[in-house]
Symmetry: C2
Subunit: 249 residues, 2 copies
DNA sequence: CGCACAGTTGACGCACATCAACCTGGGTGG
DNA sequence: CCACCCAGGTTGATGTGCGTCAACTGTGCG
């Protein structure tokens, strides 16, 4: 099971997948989903865990008048839902932003947190990472303009996709519609289109046929005020001054 | 110690404070800080835990050109930093938004997560709550206009302050400057001022002398698209269909 | 062929930014 | 005790980023 996931994703975040994979005794079932399908409803309580294997998905929130914000874009390797493994999440809706392949991991015997201390560790790291990404998104929504936000999103996706081996020469598949990009950045589809045009005119990127090429990553990151530090798990803190719980986590 | 904190805060979130308080053998040291002072720097690694006892504080992020966004407003009872208890946080900067009293809890013997399973539970609940608040803030930054965002912030603060007994008759002390409100909502101070005027003109609120009065809470919440559900810890999920870990968390 | 959908572009309007002036109240020092 | 100061609040004039509306294009698919 573990090798199955890792070969599929070429992931480098072995610790997380190790923790999860070890919990399952049955094989992972794969499902193909078209674009624009809700994977997870806030009122459903699925037993299985779901992992995104291919494509793009997104968690989103709606205002009562229909305004939508995609609070988090999911890339291959990301957890869609942990199901009964750890039903800790606030209720959220997840939809596909592109044709997706998702893996369903049915859990025979739900673990508890004492028998699987590694699970707690992984869970907290996972939440930390989401929090860091969410904070950067807040910065885009609140203080970056549309071009900067777009550039930042591209830098972030490149970084996240690179860790699962889906980037070659600063180029990767980007099949998210401009409408969904707009709901991620908190602007309108029309303005995304114009901001894209502006970005293209700088020569920093090419986006065509569902493929994004970053021609000058350093310049793009500068424009976006992008610092990849928030995506990397911090190096193990030195033991001096650390408490036992730090090492455990 | 526990009674000390609870009497100071009149908190109802007893579980969290119980978990924390039990860890300490020394007394809590109090410190008074003026407005606009950084409590926590991202490079510091304090041993002590800090809790906000009075006033307002805020976590913030800066862009390299000086643009600032307050990602989270802290109210009395909120954890500023857990220090060595659980040094799990992404590195953040925290500043006072008003004159504050903070409590310092020095931890003699750092716990580990196996000896204190309740700590892990509390930690995850704490992160969940922060995440839910952050998500609502994203919605404000991305999809609410300035008046709606302001109204939503007021509703949220009322709710959070009410749980620590600092609200009477939908009225509470609000000593955050318009400049800091602006950095919370992602707009300019001038525009906060005008949005405040617009809100006042609706008759829904009165804000004067550092005191906010909500005259028609229901109408304000409707205007803000506010739903308090995200702030309340979800009721214990029914046992049917739940796994062991759900009950543990 | 024609329909549906995503992308593109133009004209125009509005929410919010910018710049600048002025007001106000509390604190401070002479 | 008054004069001053200064941070924060308030307001006006004007500029701009983004929204809105609408038309058109291209492209894949039944």
């Amino acid at each position: 099971m573990n090798t199955l996931i890792r070969s599929e994703l070429l992931t480098t975040d072995s610790q997380w997948l190790d923790s999860i994979s070890a919990l399952f005794t049955t094989n992972m079932r794969k499902r193909e989903l078209p674009k624009r399908v809700d994977v997870l409803h806030p009122d459903s309580t699925p037993q299985s865990a779901f992992i995104l294997l291919k494509g793009y998905a997104g968690r989103y929130r709606l205002l009562s008048d229909g305004r939508r914000l995609i609070t988090m874009i999911l890339v291959p390797g990301d957890i869609i839902s942990l199901g009964s493994i750890a039903n800790y999440q606030v209720k959220r809706t997840v939809t596909t932003l592109a044709p997706c392949r998702i893996g369903e991991l049915s859990c025979d015997t739900p673990p508890d947190n004492t028998s699987w201390p590694g699970l707690t560790t992984a869970l907290i790291r996972h939440m930390q990472r989401d929090e860091a990404i969410a904070e950067e998104r807040m910065l885009s929504l609140g203080r970056r303009n549309a071009v900067e936000s777009l550039a930042h999103l591209f830098c972030e996706l490149r970084e996240r996709l690179a860790t699962v081996g889906l980037v070659t020469d600063d180029s990767f598949e980007l099949t998210i519609s401009q409408e969904d990009l707009a709901d991620s950045l908190g602007v309108t589809p029309v303005h995304v289109n114009r901001s894209l045009r502006a970005l293209r005119k700088t020569g920093l990127i090419t986006l065509a046929g569902g493929n994004l090429i970053i021609h000058d990553r350093q310049a793009l990151e500068l424009l976006a005020h992008f610092d990849s530090a928030y995506l990397q798990f911090e190096p193990e803190r030195s033991t001096e001054g650390s408490s036992a719980i730090v090492r455990n986590y």
